[in-house]
Each structure stands twice: as structure tokens, then as C-alpha cells.
Symmetry: C2
Subunit: 194 residues, 2 copies
């Protein structure tokens, strides 16, 4: 997705060979117009997939998911990273290990918002080791919903997340795929530059 | 805002005289179309205010804020409730006490995203005791930015948040104002039903 690539090149900060910081438009400050275009792109990619619900993870997954939900005309459910006191319903939960923070987080979705009749698009901001996506898949499967695929804004293709998800039979659509972050530069995978 | 009132009446669950649960369209599951209409309404209310940036709090403030940012053509910055390891920048922080959870949270915004040149609209999902809004105001003031006003999706008018904010000279625009939650019913303030 050209606009996203440009934004990453202009504003992304390569902090190490593994870390790209995109806090100016996705993870802390959000560019609403870019999110709209991301929503349109996910909408285009999944418009024939019969999606009834989008599932994402707070907080950075919310903006791209809501814009996609608007395009597809479906609700968004965001998994919470910690249990809120007002979440009195039965919960579907999964453990997500973060390699960055070296901690495990319990993520939770209320059972009320997913059913066997749902066809779910999972959306997340980043795909690295795939642990968050696997946790979301786990929750969606517990609900008995069908998973139509996974939409990722930025994929770090040099990590093994995509391979893990594809091994599970998942369709993975990433709007930007990073081949490497060496020498402080973002190198995109060639195929998505066309 | 009529559509919001209807949604609250249809799907809101009154858990006590103080707690209205709107997890089906705002706080856990999100209705993107309703968020768009909320964004249009905040956009209409603040279009003459010279807004350059929206500041909100993760996670439930993000969806209405991004839709408002799209209408006003400005970026959204969401304050984080806990420090992320990739937030290496200097931070502006404030303490927010939650009466519901009886705990204090540190909220943080990177200094990079607010400046003396900004005119800020603060948006939050709920206004109850006003502690979150006061924390966000504190952060925006530390940055030297101007605060144009506060946009609230649902105000619990029987709590003292609005009075506290107005005492600080704030313009407060709430799209739904609840007078009481007694007897398991939502009673709206009369003025906003017109």
C-alpha cells in the first residue's frame, strides 16, 4: 500500500534491526486519513469473504479495525489486555507472550460478542512473532466462529509470524512487508512495491 | 444525539445506579457507523474552534476520536495508561484516580506530539468524576497547548465531572447526558432530548 510505505519511510524510526517505531501515525499518534485508506484496502481484500465481525487487540489495532468495519459494515470487537471491572460477562481468554516486553499477557473477549455464526477478520497493527494473532485466533476458535483471514498493517517479514499463521492455514494479508531493518533503513519486500 | 440515545436505550445495561454498561457498541464491541456519526457531531460542534489535534485516552476513546479527527482533518494522540517499552521519548504524565477501580493510573503522552502551537480537543468515552479529563487537561497544559474544549460521548450528569471541568473554564460538549440510572432505567437530561 503505497501511502503506507511512504509514511513509514518519511516518519518511521528504525530503533534497531528488529524495531521500527511508527508512533507518529499508528501506535501513539494516529493519522485518521491513513487509517481510512487502510480500512478501504482491507475492505477491498476481504469484501468477498462474508465477514460478519472484526476482532482486534487494544489499543493500536482499534483505529484500522474501526475504519475497516465501517467499509465492511460490521462491528469490531477489541480484546482487552487486562480484565476490566465492568466486564462481568463470561470471558474467552488466551495467553500472549511478548518477546519485546518478555512478559505474558492475558487477553480477553466477552463471550457475548462472538458466536458460531460469525465469520471473523482478525486485524492487528504489527505482525512479528505472531503471538498476538495466535492468541486472537485461539479466542475466535473457542467461540466456534470461522476465521476468514488476518489483516496486518505492518509485517516484519524477517520474523516468523507469517510462517506460523500460514502453517495454521490462515490467509494473511499485510499492507506493508518489511524484509529488513538493517543499517537503519526500511527494506520492503519486493513484491509489495509493484 | 438521537442515534446514540436510541442505542443506549436498546443495548445499554444498567448494572447499578452508577454504572451503565455499553460494551456492545462503545467499550468492547464497537459500532463503526455510530462512531462515524459521533465523529460528525463532534466535528460540527468544534469546527470553528481551530482544532489542530485531538487528545484522548486508550482504549475506548480511540474510535470516536479517530472518526472526529477524520472529519476535522487533524491527528489523534492517545494517552497510554502504562508505559510501553518502545516509548523512549520524553513523556508528559499525569495521575488519574479511578473511583470504579479504586486505583491510580499514570497516563502518558510523548512530548513529540503536542506543542505550544496546538489547539487541542480532548475526547473521552465517559464523563463521570472527571478524573480522566482532568488528567488529559494536565498533560495538554504541560505541553503549553491551548485546550479548545472537551468532547464526551456519554456524560453521567449525576456525578460531578462536568462541574469540575466547567470550574476550570472548560467548554464541555456531551452527546448524551444521563440524569439518573435509578430503577434500572436511563433517564436522560431533558435538554438533550429536544
Amino acid at each position: 500500500m503505497k501511502r503506507l510505505h511512504e509514511k513509514m519511510e518519511q516518519e518511521g524510526r528504525v530503533l534497531s534491526e528488529h524495531v521500527l517505531k511508527v508512533d507518529s501515525f499508528l501506535n501513539h499518534q494516529i493519522d485518521p486519513q491513513l487509517m481510512k485508506e487502510i480500512g478501504e484496502e482491507f475492505g477491498r481484500l476481504f469484501k468477498e469473504a462474508g465477514i460478519t465481525k472484526i476482532v482486534t487487540l487494544e489499543s493500536s489495532g482499534i483505529a484500522p479495525s474501526v475504519m475497516t468495519g465501517l467499509v465492511l459494515g460490521v462491528p469490531v470487537v477489541f480484546a482487552r489486555k487486562r480484565q476490566s471491572l465492568t466486564m462481568t460477562d463470561d470471558l474467552l481468554t488466551a495467553e500472549v507472550y511478548s518477546f519485546t516486553k518478555q512478559t505474558s499477557n492475558r487477553i480477553a473477549v466477552s463471550k457475548s460478542f462472538l458466536s458460531e455464526d460469525d465469520t471473523v477478520l482478525i486485524i492487528d497493527d504489527f505482525l512479528a512473532n505472531g503471538q498476538a494473532a495466535l492468541g486472537l485466533m485461539d479466542i475466535v476458535k473457542q467461540a466456534g466462529s470461522t476465521i476468514a483471514g488476518i489483516g496486518i498493517v505492518i509485517e516484519k517479514s524477517f520474523q516468523d509470524g507469517r510462517a506460523l499463521l500460514e502453517k495454521e492455514g490462515m490467509r494473511v494479508e499485510s499492507l506493508a512487508r518489511i524484509e529488513s531493518l538493517q543499517d537503519g533503513q526500511i527494506q520492503f519486500k519486493a513484491e509489495v512495491l509493484q
